[in-house]
């Protein structure tokens, strides 16, 4: 038997926020909804960030676990049952009060509700459903709700929950099923993909219902997302973005999130602690590649290959691609088609749209591009305006690489610090082989 003092709401919030903080995906975008005038809340298509925490991540939703009393023993997770951490559970009422009061004060855009597995998946899902039902129907809350579907819960519950939430997500956790078996013994690939497929199918059906009946209830209107842990298992970047690409194509996901692995547990199955901290640069490069897949019409095998399976640390994936495909450049800004403009380093999708519109009304030169928002110090090696480059430039990979680096291409923190460390070792009397010569 367990004897525990009754926790205050402050302590509970503390424990269950701490337990939820490794979940990424604190976004409130993807759906737009006006209030009906009786309750509180609305949604903006672009999403709204309400604050930023000390790690620079956005705080948009009240991100909490319903409970961290979990029966599973996933080796990477801080809430695994074999860990000795403070445990707590909210009641549906407490979650509703917190959400409503925070929302009134404009602290948050909505609720992100995840949970550990209490007793069994179905029981947990029932609790999540009870909370959301209360929030939507009794408190009349019309803001954003992101809820986690629990792998292994019954399809009927997933469906019912989907009608109350804006976004649903099932965590893929790890990119391959071997890794999943090694680190999350209680989860299976099949259990994770089944609810994902279910949500996808139900969303397609819902689209048809909505074309027939405009006021039909909406099922997961902001789409579904998932997340993967990066760096806990030996997958390459190539494998990871291939998985992401197939999730976008086959499961029609809205977003795939990547979470750099943070060492919270000591376990033989996990990689050794190195003192370098989470692989943030790798996470960053994966997000960049993810954007290229979703908005820039790139395919995974264009960015990486079997022989070259990891991202360049010095350049972002698009710049890296351009340097390897110099035969396609330079591009004439006043004539090139939209898709080609998207492939130029330094031109984002917004600037590309603006260029296409602005060039109908006159020819553009480099000063115009600068005003439109193009990053010229990167783009200048790859574009011409009216047949001229900004400066005389050799179309040579080494030359451009050197110039990009010399022009103050902002190096990621990891790379800068790597340089310093090598230097200090050398000055301390270490030779190239790492042997002390003093």
């Amino acid at each position: 038997m367990r004897i525990q003092e009754a926790l205050s709401i402050y302590d509970k919030l503390n424990i269950l926020t701490d337990a939820a903080k490794y979940d990424v995906a604190c976004t409130s975008s993807g759906t737009s909804r006006k209030s009906d005038g009786t309750g509180i809340g609305s949604c903006e298509q672009s999403g709204i960030c309400h604050s930023f925490s000390a790690d620079g991540r956005c705080i948009s939703l009240l991100k909490i676990l319903f409970t961290n009393e979990c029966i599973y023993d996933c080796k990477y997770c801080v809430n695994r049952r074999s860990n000795d951490v403070a445990r707590a559970s909210f009641t549906p009422d407490e979650v509703c009060t917190l959400t409503m009061e925070f929302y009134r004060r404009n602290y948050i855009e909505g609720l992100f509700l995840s949970s550990g597995i209490l007793r069994n998946p179905d029981y947990t899902m029932e609790l999540l459903y009870a909370t959301l039902y209360r929030l939507r129907r009794e408190c009349n809350f019309q803001g954003y709700i992101h809820v986690k579907a629990i792998p292994g819960a019954s399809p009927e519950l997933v469906q019912r929950l989907g009608f109350l939430a804006d976004r649903m997500s099932v965590n893929l956790e790890l990119a391959t099923s071997e890794s999943l078996r090694a680190l999350a013994p209680h989860k299976t690939r099949k259990n994770i993909l089944t609810p994902m497929r279910l949500v996808q199918n139900r969303m397609t059906e819902n689209k048809q219902e909505l074309t027939l009946y405009r006021n039909a209830p909406r099922f997961v209107p902001a789409g579904q997302s998932t997340q993967m842990i990066i760096g806990a298992t030996p997958e390459t970047d190539y494998q990871i973005i291939q998985v992401a690409e197939s999730l976008y194509q086959k499961f029609e996901l809205k977003r795939v999130f990547y979470s750099a692995f943070v060492h919270v547990n000591n376990d033989a199955a996990l990689p050794a602690k190195t003192g370098e901290g989470p692989p943030l640069l790798r996470e960053h490069r994966l997000y960049q590649a993810d954007w290229l897949l979703r908005y820039y019409h790139f395919r995974a095998e264009e960015l990486l290959t079997e022989e070259n399976p990891n991202f360049n640390v010095l350049f972002d994936p698009k710049c890296n691609w351009a340097l390897k495909h110099l035969e396609e450049f330079p591009v004439e800004v006043n004539r090139a088609d939209y898709k080609m403009l998207l492939r130029v380093p330094g031109i984002g999708y917004k600037s590309a749209v603006r260029i296409v519109k602005a060039r109908r009304l006159g020819t553009l030169d480099f000063t115009d591009l600068k005003k439109i928002g193009v990053v010229l110090k990167r783009a200048l090696y790859f574009i011409t305006c009216g047949g001229r480059m900004m400066y005389p430039t050799k179309m040579d990979e080494d030359y451009i690489t050197r110039n990009l680096l010399a022009a103050g291409e902002k190096l990621p923190r990891e790379v800068r610090e790597m340089g310093y460390r090598q230097l200090s070792l050398f000055e301390g009397g270490w030779n190239e082989n790492g042997i002390c010569v003093q």
Binding site: I9, Y10, L13, N14, T17, D18, A20, K21, Y22, K34, S35, G37, T38, G39, I40, G41, S42, E44, S46, I48, C49, H50, S51, F52, S53, A54, D55, G56, R57, C58, I59, L62, K63, L98, E101, F102, R104, R105, N106, Y107, E109, G143, A260, V262, H263, G277, P278, L280, R354, K357, A358, R360, L361, G362, T363, L364, D365, D368, K371, I372
Partner: protein
């Protein structure tokens, strides 16, 4: 000789100035709109005080809507709310340029023209600040149950913020206080919002918060501290997304 039309820093004022300049049928280099109090004196020009009327403003609004389209009007209106002293001039320049291109409704795409580019830059700035305040604004519950928020924006964004919060919190009594421009947006439950301007309210009332307020402030502060992952600490990134000027009114930084 160049004529400078001097008007006040309001939508009515600037539109009235544009009305007079437009009526005079001068070319772009021969006229300029300047704001009272933000005027650089120049040699060799006439200064004309604009008589500001609702009628003139409505006429200019109709002119823009009819010939440049709703989208351009939307952009221009937001540009006029900005804090830049050259905004009236940029709008006038844009309107005069629109006459010269084949399809005037496409004027806002003509980004290679300096005046159009200026309007584009201004409204983007106003949109940006509005969007930031939609998130960073903080209400506190006063003793009488009214939600109060104070902000210090650079641009006059109250008319952009109020519809957002009126839609979001229709059943609440709330007010937003623009401390820079000394204006209030006030919303009474179930009614339309209004802008209060030129009034002084008893500011001491704004400091008297309800009893529950402290508890929720404490909960929120605790949440914001706990949610950060220590091994990913990155204050620079935080600063980039959330500049210091917004933080003075945010409870989690208090």
């Amino acid at each position: 000789m160049k004529t400078v039309y001097v008007c006040s820093d309001t939508v009515t004022g600037i539109f009235s100035g544009i009305y007079d300049a437009w009526k005079s049928r001068k070319r772009e280099e021969e006229c300029e709109i300047a704001l009272r109090g933000m005027l650089d004196q120049q040699l060799f020009c006439d200064y004309v005080e604009v008589e500001e009327t609702e009628h003139k403003a409505a006429a200019v609004e109709a002119l823009i809507r009819k010939h440049l389209g709703m989208r351009a009007y939307h952009d221009i209106y937001h540009a006029v709310l900005s804090a830049d002293p050259k905004k009236g001039d940029a709008v006038l320049g844009t309107m005069l340029t629109a006459r010269e291109i084949p399809d005037s409704t496409k004027i806002m795409d003509h980004l290679s023209h300096p005046k159009v580019e200026k309007v584009f830059e201004l409204y983007r700035n106003v949109f940006g600040e509005t969007h930031s305040y939609k998130g960073f604004l903080r209400f506190r519950e006063l003793k009488n149950g009214v939600l109060y928020a104070g902000i210090e924006p650079k641009n006059q964004i109250l008319t952009c913020l109020a519809p957002h919060f009126a839609d979001r919190l229709p059943t609440e009594n709330w007010m937003i206080h623009d401390k820079t421009h000394k204006m209030f947006a006030v919303h009474e439950a179930g009614k339309q919002w209004v802008i209060l301007w030129g009034h002084t309210l008893d500011e001491e009332v704004f400091e008297q918060v309800s009893d529950r307020e402290e508890e929720y402030t404490r909960l929120w502060k605790g949440f914001c501290q706990t949610i950060a992952i220590e091994s990913r600490r990155n204050p620079r990134c935080q600063l980039q997304h959330l500049p210091l000027r917004y933080r003075s009114e945010m409870v989690e930084f208090g």
